[in-house]
Point group: C2
Chain length 206, copies 2
DNA sequence: AGTAATATGGAAGTGACTACCATATGACAC
DNA sequence: GTGTCATATGGTAGTCACTTCCATATTACT
């Protein structure tokens, strides 16, 4: 790695760290980009070359966690879709559990500031869409499948959406009570949905 | 209804209509709030009293469609959760199908402009959260349930998320091919997930 | 008609983000 | 080392969404 890329990485990390300091200190809305740039000792225009929006500063961690797991899936040999998705979920949860403070901070900032929540949602949506297209590849490329071509897109989107839901709900539960939650077990149980296990809902008499 | 509220409704509708005209004409990003205000013959500050953000102008229709269905559920007598959610989905699809042009326009604007997509995501998330809490009410208030108190929140969030997914994927499919898609039938099939039907995925040999 | 409540328009300001240009710095051939 | 080129940086000026505040106008109520 050349000196150039090394400094790039360092600057990137410095900006991110200083931003999180300021955000946790005065809050997202009360921190200006100029303040972050000043704290990281770079010009505002340089900061924008690293992070295109203020919100991306907050969400970089979530982004790399999610898309890292997706890259893992892309490198896997053919396997049944529920197994692959199970692996994806566990990879994401591993990332989250390895950095609980970051996760908590991101959640707090998203709760407080609607623009952060909005950007978080788009990151998650984009991930879900890419996961969906990856599933389509896996279902069509490997062999001739019994499913009709049209409904594959529908099914894949649904499966990707459910996977995303399981991650969201599991992480949410875990963030609210980290000690008392076995995130992986919870997710494994929820993923039974894909395998036809249904969802344990009580019946209600009218 | 007094004269005051009548004029309010008229102004609101006028602003919305003019905004859609301009958006479809020059695009969302190339339309300024001042232009919308001028076209509706109101001051910019008045416009902001009706719509807190530019994006809400686009998303009002989606919002009322979704939350209208939620209000319907709140008025329903106790019933099994999957049946209630099925009704919610069908109400939403009814709204969408009754105004296909609006739906298509919203989709196009969300595709082109990331901030619209982001706001759309938050509207949908908020709706999902409210649906989830409504499910918790229904599952706890009516009778004593066999489910443990802790896991009800988890299960309800999962069910609400899946419902949201079904709506999203169904509407997406329908928007791409309105003529050849029976949205309600598609959604009904997908909602079988909640009832333990699983998802029709082919197996893959390694 | 008179008064209170509320809706409107405009002006001034904040801050995120963009476009652009001059300058500095690491990379590479010699 | 030295010169050259590609790229990274800092600063400036500007756009536009959105906020705050105040003076004025319009509706509702007695």
């Amino acid at each position: 790695m050349g000196l150039r890329e090394l400094k790039r990485e360092r600057t990137r990390q410095l900006i991110s760290d200083k931003a999180f300091e300021l955000f946790t200190d005065r809050g997202f809305g009360r921190t200006t980009v100029e303040q972050i740039a000043a704290a990281a000792e770079v010009g505002p225009s340089t900061l924008y070359r690293y992070y295109p929006t203020k919100e991306r500063l907050v969400l970089e961690f979530v982004e790399t966690s999610l898309f890292g797991a997706l890259d893992w899936l892309r490198d896997q040999p053919p396997m049944n879709v529920p197994d692959g998705l199970q692996g994806v979920v566990e990879r994401v949860l591993d990332q989250m559990e390895s950095n609980p403070d970051r996760v908590r901070t991101v959640y707090e900032l998203a709760d407080q500031t609607s623009s952060v929540e909005a950007h978080l949602a788009t990151v998650i949506w984009r991930w879900r869409d890419e996961l969906s297209t990856e599933l389509v590849h896996r279902l069509t490329a490997d062999s001739d499948q019994p499913l009709a071509g049209e409904s594959i897109g529908f099914t894949a989107a649904l499966a990707a959406g459910i996977t995303m839901n399981v991650i969201e709900v599991t992480v949410q539960t875990w963030v609210e009570n980290p000690a008392g939650t076995d995130a992986k077990a919870l997710a494994r149980e929820a993923m039974c949905l894909l395998r036809g296990g249904g969802i344990p809902l009580p019946t209600v008499e009218p």
